[in-house]
Structures are given as C-alpha cells and as structure tokens.
Symmetry: C2
Subunit: 327 residues, 2 copies
Amino acid sequence: MKAVELSFKEKQATLKVNEKMAMPVREKDQLRIKVAAAAVNRTDLVAKQTGNLPKGNTILGVEVSGTVVESDSEQFPCGSRVMGLVNGGGYAEYAVMNVGNAMPLSDQLTFEEGAAIPEVFLTAYQTLFWLGELMPTQSVLIHAGASGVGTAAIQLARKLTNAKIFVTASSANKLQLCESLGADTLINYKEEDFSHRIMKETAGQGVDLILDFIGADYWARNLDSIADDGRLILIGILGGSIVENVNLMTVMQKRITIKGTLLTPRSDAYKAKLTKEFIEKTSALFASGELKPIIDSVFTLNEVEKAHKYMADNKNKGKIILKTTES
Amino acid sequence: MKAVELSFKEKQATLKVNEKMAMPVREKDQLRIKVAAAAVNRTDLVAKQTGNLPKGNTILGVEVSGTVVESDSEQFPCGSRVMGLVNGGGYAEYAVMNVGNAMPLSDQLTFEEGAAIPEVFLTAYQTLFWLGELMPTQSVLIHAGASGVGTAAIQLARKLTNAKIFVTASSANKLQLCESLGADTLINYKEEDFSHRIMKETAGQGVDLILDFIGADYWARNLDSIADDGRLILIGILGGSIVENVNLMTVMQKRITIKGTLLTPRSDAYKAKLTKEFIEKTSALFASGELKPIIDSVFTLNEVEKAHKYMADNKNKGKIILKTTES
C-alpha cells in the first residue's frame, strides 16, 4: 500500500511516499480502514525528530477518517464512515483502529473534517472536563486559542457550559476566529500582558482553569492569573520546558493543581473510555453544525514535509490535513 | 477568661497567658466549649511570625477538645465531649466551634488524645484520599513519617487501604515508630537517597502518591520517585519554597499531578464536609484503638513559648499538646 515512510540518514529524518509499504495487520477488536484523510499533530513532529514512534509503529499519524473495509464489529460493519485515534500508522492508504477508538462520522461532515476532529476535540474535552474539572459557571483561559486544541476547547466550553472564556493569540485575525467560536475575552499576547488583563477582567480573582501549551515562558504569569483552587493543565511546552524559579508557597496558598498530560501515550482503555463519553456528549452537536472542526489547510501525502514545516512555523489556524488521494 | 495573648513589640511576637481575655461570642450553629486541651500546629508558628491570624481571631490555635457548655445542636448538647477544628481561638479556656466541625470524642480517648486528632488526621485523610486519590493497592510515599500528619497518614493508609507505604524520617527511632504504625519500607533520608531506594523497591516504577512537607529540597527527587499518572501533594515547605529548576517535560511525560494545599484557610463548608466523611470512616477505628493519636508531649498554657520552640526545632514525634488546666 501507499504510505509515508520515515527514514533516517545521519540522524536527519526524511518523510517520503513509498507505494510498497506493508499493509497493517488487523487484530481482534480492530477495524481496517481505507484512509481518506489523516491529520498532522505536534506529536508527529516530535516523533519524527526523536524517532520514538507510538507503540513501535513505523508510520506517523495518530488520527484518521475513512471507510471500514474489514471488521468484526457490529457497530462498525464494512462500509461505515468513521473517524478516530490510531496508534500510529495514519499517514497511509490503510490503517487499523481499535473499535473502542472509532467514532461514527456523520454524513454532514466530509472526510477532511472527520480527520480534523479526534485528537484536538478529545484533548480539549479531556483537559477541560476530566483533568480541568471545569464547572458550568467558572472561567477558563485557553492559550493559543486559534490552534487546533484551542479552537476545539473554545467551542466545547461554549456549547457544554456557561463558563467565561478568555483566550490568547498572536494576531487580530486569530482572535477574530476565537470570537466567532464563542470566546468572551480576546487577548493579543503580543500587545498586552495577559495576566494583567485577566486580573483586571476578573476583579483580581483570576481564572479557575488554564489550558496551556506554552510552558516555561508562561509559568509565572499563569500562576499570577489563576484563582484559588485553580487548575493549570500543561498540554504543551512550545515556550520551553525549564522553569527557573517556581514558588511553591504560591502553589500552596492558592491551592493550585498542576497537571501534565499527553494523550498519545495513554492506554487504549483510557482512550476508549474518553472516546465513548465524547461521542455521547457531542455527536448531535457535530451533526447539527453547532460544533465544527476548524481546518486550516489540506495537503496531499506527497506534500507531507511541507505540511510539517507549516506546523513547525506556527502558521496554522486550526488543523492541517493530509488527504491520501491526489485528486 | 484565661487565654494566650499574642502581642507584638517592635515586630517581635510574644505569647503570654492573660487571665482577663474576652469570652468568645457563640453564634448560631456553633458550640461554646470549655477547652480541656489544644494542639500546637505549624500554622500557629506561621501566624505568630506574620501576625496573620485565621479569620481575624486574635488568639492562636486551630484545634481543641473539651466539653460543650452552650449549644443549640441536638447532636452535641451541653455536656458532650467533643474534638474538632476551630477558626483560631484554641489556646484558651473557652472556644467556639462550628457544629459542622465538631466530632464526638469517644470515652476510650482522653482529652489530650482528642486534641491530637483533628488537624493531622483530617489533613492526612484529605491529602491521601480527596486530593491524592489513593487507590486500594497503589503505593504512597509519606515524607516526615514521624511527624503529626505523617503518623496519621501511615495509620489511615494502613487501616483503610492495602497500599504499599514508604516513609522517610531522620532517625532509626523515628522510623521504628513509623513501622509500628504500619509503614512497609523505612528510609532514613540522612543515610540514603530516598529516590534511589524508591526506584529500587518499585522496580523502576515509582510511587503513585507522595505526601510532601519539604518542598524545594525534595522537588527533583520527588519527581524522580513518582510513577506515571502519580500525584504529588504539597502540604508544607520546610525545605524551602523556591525550586530553581523545574522540568515541565517530566511533568507532562509522566502525566504528574501536583497539588498545593493548606487546610486552615479553607471554607467552613469544606471543613464540615471533610469532618463528616472522616467521622464515618474512622470513628469505630478510634474507639477500638486501631487508629490512635500519637502524642509527643504535653505542655501547660504557661509553657506555650517552650512548646512553640520545641516544634520549630523539629524535635517532636507526633503531636504537641497544650492543656488548659495546670494540674
């Protein structure tokens, strides 16, 4: 089958389409899927750099949409349109997916849209509600509001709660997207200190929850911006991983909870449980168009290096999609 | 009434018994208690240093035992023997206690023992189960195992779960106490690196939960010692509050949860809920002697400065009690 092959030459990784890759083996409780579209994620960029691919798979890509072509599942027989997480192997013509990770893809959505949903919406759902314990009338600060997880988190917080939603982004254009999705307070972090703005807008209380992709650069300002009993969920470290000065007294006095998380390495059972709850809460909202995947751009498999560079340069608003057909 | 008066002279705090302090005012849903014994806590030492007393009370002391002398509660009529948290005012002949914080004091226990229970056992219960989410067959590392909270946490983990219990302490004598209370693995932190020992004993897995009173000095070794999905609960910062190098990548990769906590500043509603659950889970175990408060020493009110110095010097194993009568 056709797939993107990852190879290393003098420690330099290259991605190239190979028409003769081995077909993945479907096991019990898995679906074989004819992939229509896969999405690019930061975890793919890291895996490419480090060579550590999830679960030993040699093909990148942790989410796909497509049509089931081999199945022992009553819920997803052959011909079903599905989307979901895969343990690697997404950048390919065929992939196998655990039945527990499969979600029905509504006829109202295209395959490109389907591939844009699982990773960011599941991460947003998990961090807002499972880890972040966002209550209906609390407040949440979503950094990188125009990113894939950011755009998903704004929508989920808007549709599933009455929370007050603060976002940061780097341009008026990105902030406009955040506003259209339901953000209440728009902060251009290049033009103002987000923690000053948060404290002003919340009358000195701070926010109950922060979803952060930045890490070290934002650490001190995040702790300044957080309310008593607040939660800081670390999903990424685009702004560095080493914090040079952490004041544990603040953590204790404000009774702050800090949780680090990565979705890809979690167990299949965890992902299946998350997927199940997510479908229950959101499938009607996707079908009605109240929740919508945000696609930035669509590349072909042959353009995969270009797609990775585009993400590495932080140029995208929403998801970057790879489609497996050239048309 | 007689109470310990806190006064400041050129920013130097002094504690002295004053026989003519004003009687505290009992409000609705409170008990007035003739105090038999109060306990000394680190929060008292901090309040003395900073002058910031809980809820504006001018008398130190956040837990007492004694006899109810004024009440509108059916559960705790006059004459009831009680113990519980108070919002300051404990170092005194009389104190008021919210009914929600009162716990019946079993006839099998003395008043000194009753005063030794609320703060450390409630903190241990809250940090092990509410914040630490200790599961029945997980593992827990309890630092300062011979301290007040340490001795309570070892017993609660032993009697309420099948968890594997690791403790650290500074001497063979203290570790012997920990073992007698149910600790499985004893680590003298002066003689060996606790993180090396933990990783050896857990075959490189680490522990699921750490209760830490030390803070900065232990930070890096705590992160080394913690398992994937582990929880680090920060209850104290005896080893400093400023960590100079925090690696957020570790926090994300191990999916670590860090929670700072202080019990004293929490709301009355929170304390009442915690107290209620604690009574349900433990009162039979206290009555039967399976759980027991650990008392280090008993001082009179007149000896309060000596009692504070004794705690500041970390000399105690278990609780330091102040009794209000001279006999």
